[in-house]
């Protein structure tokens, strides 16, 4: 379902920088450095473009505005509204407390509806990556990680998932040596073939050295399609009213 990507888009951006893998010392050091470069904020406003590219190279562009906020409970809430194309203009999704409740508002129907929240294993719309892939939330998992290689410009880290219900044999992270951010992630399926990649093509570095990815590309090698996210505007710590992340915001014509 297309909305899944939208629902989580922001969450990913957040998670991408909080990769926390603790094992070998070198890997550990890299991770620490990476964490340092991630921006910290409680609220965020983003205007971005999502470009879906299919097998034949046809592009479908959607523009959206997103608000997110990390609550006191540590869970984040997001609100995503589509700005274009016309057919989805005004469609708004509200995700409260990491998907505990998700609401959908479709302007043609006027009444908001609650939609079932998706579990972590679900596919992340069109991209073929799951929520878990995107979050790379390995903190509590005893996955084996090791520094495979160190080239002039990057570190190549291998993550071997373990346990039940794993979908990948291995995951390769390519980390920029100078700036300490993940440039590319490669996902290898259970037969050991590269099936999906996630690349960060463009970043923005602020005066404090914090890095924000501005262009992200997901490629599904098996299904031969690609999704690009281009951040057009990003603002941290914007002011939002206390009832902003509630149903009534859904149907408001302006946010």
């Amino acid at each position: 379902m297309k909305l899944r990507l939208e629902v989580y888009i922001l969450t990913i951006l957040v998670f991408l920088f909080s990769i926390n893998i603790a094992s070998a010392i070198t890997v550990d050091e890299i991770m620490d450095k990476m964490e340092e470069t991630a921006p910290d904020f409680t609220t965020q406003k983003t205007i971005s473009e999502m470009i879906l590219i299919d097998q034949e190279g046809n592009e479908e562009i959607r523009e959206m505005i997103m608000f997110s906020q990390e609550g006191e409970n540590g869970k984040s809430s997001t609100l995503v509204r589509f700005l274009s194309p016309k057919s989805v203009k005004g469609v708004t999704l509200l995700n409260i407390d990491d998907g505990e409740k998700i609401y959908l508002y479709m302007p043609a129907y006027d009444k908001p509806r609650r939609i079932a929240s998706s579990s972590k294993g679900d596919e992340f719309m069109g991209t073929g990556l799951s929520y878990e892939d995107m979050s790379m939330d390995y903190k509590d998992k005893d996955y084996e990680k090791k520094l495979l290689e160190e080239t002039e410009s990057v570190y190549i880290i291998e993550v071997i998932p373990s346990g039940e219900d794993i979908s990948y044999k291995k995951i390769i992270l390519i980390v920029d040596k100078e700036k300490f951010y993940t440039k590319k992630v490669e996902f290898y399926n259970m037969s050991g073939n590269l099936t999906k990649t996630l690349e960060i093509d463009k970043i923005r570095i602020d005066d404090k050295g914090k890095i924000t990815p501005m262009e992200i590309a997901f490629t599904d090698i098996e299904e031969k399609h690609k999704t690009k996210i281009v951040i057009k505007e990003i603002e941290y710590d914007v002011e939002l009213s206390s009832s902003f992340f509630s149903i009534r915001t859904l149907s408001k014509p302006t946010l």
Binding site: M1, L3, S87, Y103, A108, K111, R114, I115, G126
Partner: protein, 927 residues
């Protein structure tokens, strides 16, 4: 010239013999590569517009019958966790198989999961049950799901269907093995498992065709026995049989070496060749033995060739003409069979002279004393003598009898139906047909009738509603099964959004719904580029062609009556007066949609008036100050009430009063602030939500009222889906027919059923063309040979009557004209006319020396006996086809056999009478 040819054959006997052996070895090696398939779409030219269109459609949307296979798994109880897991594992394993392109089962159908206040769209596999209880819940929900029930799960809920699209180049046999290797170890305790589909049918047909070809061996044995019975001698019978067999070998080898595939009809050829062409060799050998009686070996061969070349050629030419006339039909199996059989007869003719000529030159037998065929006093001879004695006396009786038979035949002959269904081709006891019937019963068919829908935007509500209507209309035909299209999915989604089981009239709503559907694989696969086209698929049972034709014609007529150009009118933008007019269009759409569901509306005008009246009544008229009404409002506002964290029941008295007293909205806001203690902001928010919900509940009441009124007027209760059509009354948008309308749509039927129907129709035309061609060709040959126009025409009478009688018998015995039986008449003209030729030639010869009566008697016992033997031989041979696994071949064989026998009866009874009335120049010479 004959002399030159005879000299050539005897002179170069060895090289000729060696060349023939080499060609035979080459042909034999080629035969293994013979490809047999029976794809209906290849029956008529690829350039045929219907075929082209079908190919384009399946190319675009997939689902080409040629690459589709289905597997059905029947369990005592499919919906147990264990069995569902099995189906799931099988589906997954199939998906991984290298020879499979895609797999569809209920597991990857989009599933809309509705919660009390929301929804979610997932592939079914994502919400796979985790216990038997959940499995049972899934069963209930799937049996109510239009995308699944009767399509991927049988109506009784115990058979799962898996549709498999295979890669292009896999052989049917290999595919079947591949599928079985995956399914069989995993299936568990199934009651029944079936495999079906074009690639598998092709494999079965190919196998069955080889079996049918092998019947040639049995036919050879049978003919051997019959010939022995006729001639009391085995000598000289083996070689003619070998000549006929080699001829079919050569043809099969030739066909195989071209690399083209052939239809299963080709499998009848070897038996037919053996039956029809053995005579040429027999002619040669009996003559040779006669000559050898008094001549040296080489001379005997030489003399034999000179004597028999023309008679055999003549006989071969007429038979070839009969076969060649089949090519006049444009239906591939006929054309192909005609062409290759012509070639076979030609080869048999060539081999009879060249092979036998060279053989007897190289391997001369010892001097023969006895005659090959000896005079006998058997039953047949006696019978023929009797015929000769009584025929002219009983002339009237015979003619009247023939006349009666002809009249009866004409009456029954008109009843013969053309039929091109698989069942008619393979016979109802065939394995494939039995499997097909299982799928018909459980899933409403194995074929699809497609309604190709093209529009400037197929997501337009008008277009979608028409598709739904066409699908509903199709359901009334027994030949047609469940329709499926994107409309089902959109209707389900709309239902979860606003509790209406309809396609909404607003384009914006469809756009919004599409947001959900957007990347579901099934849904995207059903829509063409730029939303310009889509398919409505209707499962189709393989029925009699007549039933199918009726369904297709009526569907076409129904589609014809749907306005193809409409304009959108937004009711909110027109004045009250104009609205009344537009309500008419709205109501017309309701009525036509109800009628498409096969509801008979007696008083249409009255219903129309009533519904227009209801449509123009404002919603507030349907408001009620009951607790029920208010509770419904609260249910609709559930999310907002929950959002505010208040108890809905506190709102009931406030709302009842608000409605009863018709209080203002400000008043309601104030009440909410005071009694529920909401802030002004919250109260305004809730008031708006309640007001919106009230409108929704008013609409529901209005539609309920319309349902009651409609039921009263049509005198029957509406079913759920029919009731929902009345929601159209609430449409804010009306689509009105307009020649300059900017919403354009066209519908075109296609699919195997349409092609079958077309083939069926061309079968009849093909038959007529072929018959006329055969008739003309053979008549001309006769006239040339006998040098007389009248005699040529008279000679055609017995065979013409034979054909008429044959049609009568087919009508009487309910034998359909199918791809096989349709060829019988033309073949019979070509082969049966030989008897007439032999008879007349001998008769003319005898006339030189004898009176008409004497000539007749001697011709009857002499030539008559020979042609009776020949026809018995031919019939015995082709009757062997009766053992074929294919019903059509069996009937084809029996029919040809019967017709050949019949032709002899007509020849020997009618010709003597007819010829008695003609003046021959031979008579004059004698005098």
């Amino acid at each position: 010239m004959m002399r030159k040819l005879a000299n050539f054959i005897t002179k170069y006997a060895r090289p000729i013999f060696i060349v023939i052996i080499l060609i035979t070895i080459f042909a034999g090696m080629q035969t293994r590569n013979l490809k047999i398939e029976d794809d209906v779409t290849k029956y008529i030219s690829e350039d045929d517009p219907d075929i082209k269109f079908y190919s384009e459609v399946v190319e675009k949307f997939g689902g080409s019958q040629a690459n589709m296979s289905m597997i059905s798994l029947e369990y005592e109880d499919l919906f147990t966790l264990e069995n569902l897991e099995r189906v799931k594992t099988i589906t997954e394993k199939l998906e991984d198989a290298p020879f499979i392109k895609s797999v569809n089962s209920f597991l990857n159908m989009p599933k809309i999961i509705t919660t009390d206040v929301g929804l979610e769209v997932k592939d079914l596999v994502e919400v796979f049950p985790e216990s038997d209880v959940e499995a049972k819940e899934l069963k209930n929900s799937l049996l109510n799901d239009n995308l699944v029930r009767g399509k991927f799960i049988s109506e009784d809920g115990n058979v799962a269907l898996i549709m498999v699209e295979t890669v292009h180049d896999i052989e049917g046999k290999e595919l079947k093995g591949g599928l079985e290797n995956i399914v069989e170890p995993l299936k568990g305790q199934t009651l029944q498992v079936y495999y079906f589909g074009m690639p598998l049918i092709t494999a079965e047909i190919s196998e069955g065709s080889w079996d049918t070809m092998k019947l040639a061996i049995i036919a050879a044995v049978v003919i051997l026995l019959v010939l022995y019975f006729c001639f009391r001698s085995f000598r000289g019978i083996f070689l003619p049989l070998i000549v006929a067999m080699l001829a079919s070998f050569w043809v099969l080898g030739f066909v195989a070496s071209t690399g083209k595939s052939v239809t299963m009809m080709i499998s009848a050829m070897p038996v037919l060749m053996i039956s029809l062409a053995t005579a040429y060799g027999i002619h040669f050998i009996s003559r040779y033995y006669e000559e050898r009686h008094s001549l040296e070996p080489v001379k005997a061969v030489n003399r034999t060739i000179r004597n028999i070349f023309t008679p055999i050629l003549m006989s071969a030419l007429t038979t070839m003409a009969g076969f060649l006339s089949l090519t006049a039909a444009i239906v591939r199996p006929m054309t192909e069979f005609g062409f290759f059989s012509t070639m076979g007869i030609f080869f048999a003719f060539v081999l009879a002279t060249f092979l036998l000529g060279s053989f007897f030159t190289i391997f001369p037998p010892a001097k023969i004393h006895e005659k090959f065929s000896h005079e006998a006093n058997d039953l047949i001879t006696k019978l023929l003598r009797l015929t000769g004695q009584s025929i002219l006396k009983e002339k009237k009786v015979i003619l009247i009898a023939v006349l009666i038979i002809v009249v009866i035949s004409v009456v029954f002959g008109t009843r013969v139906k053309t039929e091109s269904s698989i069942e008619s081709r393979l016979g109802k006891d065939n394995k494939i047909v039995k499997t097909m019937n299982y799928f018909n019963e459980k899933f409403g068919g194995t074929d699809f009738l497609y309604v190709y829908t093209k529009s400037n935007n197929v997501k337009n509500p008008y277009v979608l509603r028409q598709m739904k209507k066409i699908g509903n209309y199709a359901k009334q035909f027994p030949a047609l099964g469940e329709p499926s299209s994107i409309t089902d999915f959109l209707i389900q989604l709309n239902n979860t959004m606003e509790n209406k089981n309809i396609i909404p009239a607003s384009e914006e709503k469809i756009d919004n719904l599409w947001f959900f559907a957007g990347d579901n694989e099934y849904i995207t696969s059903m829509i063409g580029d730029n939303d310009k086209d889509t398919l409505l698929q209707i499962r189709t049972k393989e029925m009699t062609s007549a039933a199918l034709e009726q369904a297709i014609n009526q569907m076409e007529e129904f589609i014809e009556n749907i306005p193809k150009k409409v304009n959108k009118i937004e009711l909110s933008k027109v004045n009250e007066e104009a609205k009344a007019e537009y309500y008419g269009y709205l109501v017309d759409e309701i009525i036509s949609s109800l009628e498409a569901k096969n509801i008979k509306i007696k008083n249409k005008e009255k219903l129309r008036e009533e519904l227009i009246k209801i449509a123009s009544t404002p919603g507030s008229e349907f408001e009620k100050d009951t607790e029920e009404f208010t509770n419904e409002i609260l249910t609709v506002s559930f999310l907002e009430i929950e959002d505010l964290g208040i108890d809905g029941s506190d709102l009931v008295p406030i709302l009842i009063e608000y409605i009863r007293e018709k209080k203002s909205q400000d008043n309601l806001t104030r009440e909410l602030m005071e009694k529920i203690e909401l802030s002004e902001d919250d109260a305004l928010y809730l008031q708006k939500a309640l007001e919106d919900s009230k409108k929704i509940v008013q609409d529901r009441e209005k539609v309920r009222f319309a349902q009651t009124e409609t039921e009263k007027l049509i005198g029957e209760n509406l079913k759920d889906e029919e009731k929902d059509i009345l929601w159209y009354l609430m449409d804010e948008v009306v689509y009105i027919p307009d020649d300059n309308g900017n919403i354009e749509v066209s519908f075109q039927l296609t699919g195997i059923p349409v092609i079958s129907d077309k083939i069926n129709n061309s079968l009849f035309r093909g038959q007529v063309k072929s018959l006329i061609a055969a008739f003309i060709a053979v008549s001309i040959m006769l006239m040339l040979q006998f040098g007389s126009l009248v005699l040529g025409l008279f000679a055609m009478i017995p065979i013409t009557l034979t054909i008429i009688t044959a049609f009568g018998v087919m009508g009487l015995l309910n034998i359909d004209l199918n791809i096989g039986t349709i060829m019988v008449a033309s073949i019979a003209i070509g082969a049966g006319i030989d008897y007439t030729i032999h008879y007349i030639s001998r008769y003319k010869n005898e006339l030189k020396r004898r009176s008409k009566i004497e000539a007749m008697k001697i011709t009857l016992t002499g030539t008559g006996r020979a042609i009776v033997f020949n026809s018995i031989t031919v019939a015995a041979g082709v009757f062997v086809l009766g053992f074929s696994d294919f019903g059509m071949m069996a009937v084809f064989g029996k029919l040809i056999g019967s017709v050949m026998l019949l032709s002899v009866v007509y020849t020997l009874t009618l010709l003597p009478i007819l010829l008695n009335n003609i003046k021959f120049k031979e008579e004059a010479k004698k005098k």
